[in-house]
Symmetry: C2
Subunit: 335 residues, 2 copies
């Protein structure tokens, strides 16, 4: 399968870790056209282990994110294999932060695409983390944000969950000196099986939606065809890069906020609709509620779903898509 997208090359990018990326590529896909006033842009960054095609369930002529009305820009996360990543870069890839990603996206919008104002920054999961950062780092530029199934920083429990995912992957014998030198089939399958417990909820499996809604004949088939298929062909070093980015995500871990988490959230002047899933096991709604308390123009809209994190993922449950799309429509209608 060929994936169609554009690439912007940045000759020299300074990272938060102190290292530089040379000829750093940022892969992005646009949907719709920028209007003459350049005021119809929406940013929609990607999530963990995905690319812009995994955003397309929320984009369409019948959706709030309508390409005939908006110019929708989907930048790919560093490390995802399309943007600069271990898999396409010589030498050991440096650790990159969400802040690094967002600053690069800002250059893409302002320098290449001529965009000075965003109607909306929307994203799910790691994409949602990026929208929080956009709201805090470029408050004058972002009119609205809609973080779906995400957070402004990696919660402590989420960090432990990620540690388990990483441990399963790196239990593979091919992991040496902090790097995979060959494709770790066993580790990737193990990681997929660990992830399988976290992506949906207890209630999802109690209701047997893996069978009745997703159509798998058994739990084993669900794990193999949904989870192993998602991970087994990925580049393992890319996955480690993205896991690091996620685990170290913190809206205030930069020279703007210097660790003041509450101040960073308070800076988000954008109208915000924060949408956790009621049953998300690693972005629980309680964390979102605490974040909204610090944000001046935010409302909490909990997705009433048993689909766990996947209430915000891939459009697998039509009722969740309807809920999210309706909230985005309301948000975009606000002046």
């Amino acid at each position: 399968m060929t994936i169609d997208y554009d690439v912007q090359v940045f000759p020299r990018v300074s990272l938060q870790c102190g290292r530089e990326l040379h000829d750093c590529t940022l892969a992005f896909k646009t949907y719709g056209e920028l209007n003459a006033r350049r005021d119809n842009a929406i940013l929609f960054p990607t999530w963990f282990a995905g690319n812009h095609t995994h955003n397309e369930w929320l984009i369409g002529p019948d959706k709030a994110l309508n390409p005939s009305r908006y110019f929708i820009v989907c930048p790919n996360l560093l490390g995802n294999g399309l943007s600069a990543s271990p898999s396409n870069t010589t030498g050991r890839f440096p650790p990159v932060t969400i802040c690094d990603n967002v600053r690069l996206q800002h250059q893409l919008l302002t320098q290449r695409l001529g965009i000075e104002r965003l109607q909306l920054a929307v994203g799910t999961s790691m994409g949602a983390i990026q929208t929080f950062h956009w709201g805090a780092l470029y408050p004058e530029m972002v009119a609205r944000i809609a973080p779906i199934c995400g957070a402004a920083r990696c919660a402590r429990h989420t960090s432990v969950f990620i540690e388990g995912v990483r441990a399963a992957l790196t239990a593979d014998a091919g992991f040496e000196d902090g790097w995979f030198h060959a494709h770790p089939e066993r580790g990737l399958r193990a990681m997929a099986r660990v992830y399988a417990g976290w992506g949906f909820s207890q209630a999802f499996f109690r209701a047997e939606l893996d069978r009745t809604a997703l159509g798998f004949s058994s739990l084993e088939e669900h794990i193999v065809r949904f989870w192993e298929e998602a991970f087994r062909s990925q580049d393992a070093n890319n996955l480690l890069t993205m896991l690091w980015t996620w685990q170290n995500a913190d809206i205030s871990a930069n020279d703007v906020f210097n660790g003041d988490y509450a101040a960073a959230l308070a800076t988000i002047s954008a109208k915000a609709v924060v949408m956790p899933s009621q049953t998300d096991l690693y972005f629980p709604p309680e964390d979102s509620a605490l974040e909204v308390q610090h944000m001046p123009n935010a409302t909490l809209q909990v997705i009433p779903s048993v689909w766990g994190h996947f209430a915000g993922g891939l459009g697998v449950n039509p009722a969740d898509v309807t809920f999210i799309d309706a909230r985005l429509r309301e948000l975009l209608s606000l002046d």
Copy 2:
């Protein structure tokens, strides 16, 4: 450390899988004395990857489980390294079920210890699973059951969680042909790190109780000293045996109930107090509530705790111990 316990040897044990165990050992520890009327016995089986010493937080002169009043028998789970296990048995160890365990325990009580009546069967986690089985398989023998942070069968979500734990362990290169031929340090550490995300709750880590209550200086120290220490010295084949037992647990998967789950629960005539933890990630209280609906003499008492599964584990949180002990005291006072 030497662990003191008794052993009963069964020359020939027929298992549900059709195989037999020869000279099968059942390790057990007793606390207190059986009275002359032989009517003061309590059964308290062990949990996953533990032994009878891990039950002692709930036993004591100041506790409902008072050895000066009751004769408390703690049989060790097959596969735990004290009872018959891969680590002390020649050849490939067969798959053993909870039903196999409970039937063996029944022989221990009736044939060796001369016990025909139990005041109580109590247990946590896999121990709780055994108490449900006791209530259904020997209803005339069990006056009361108190399953804590457990269930009558392995829920579908729990099965997926266990699959992730097993996958992390067996990602180790030492796992071949369904067996570990050497001690898999890497796999055991990976398994521990996966488990770390499940044992406590999101709210536990949000409140930083790993630091303030357990005294660890960082998440990494918590993972290494609590979780890796718990698993890294275990026999990996023993762990696989116990994981299989857990994943295949079902109160009705036997020739008494032939898969009729509701009938098995309805057979539990014992007075029952079912105690899930409010925040348990793999034995969620919703499952317990459904079970209680099928049980004629059961009440649901949700432990109001953010300690997740460990509300019922090792006595790590004094408030949870107080709650559980008070419910056991009430239960034992009922005629």
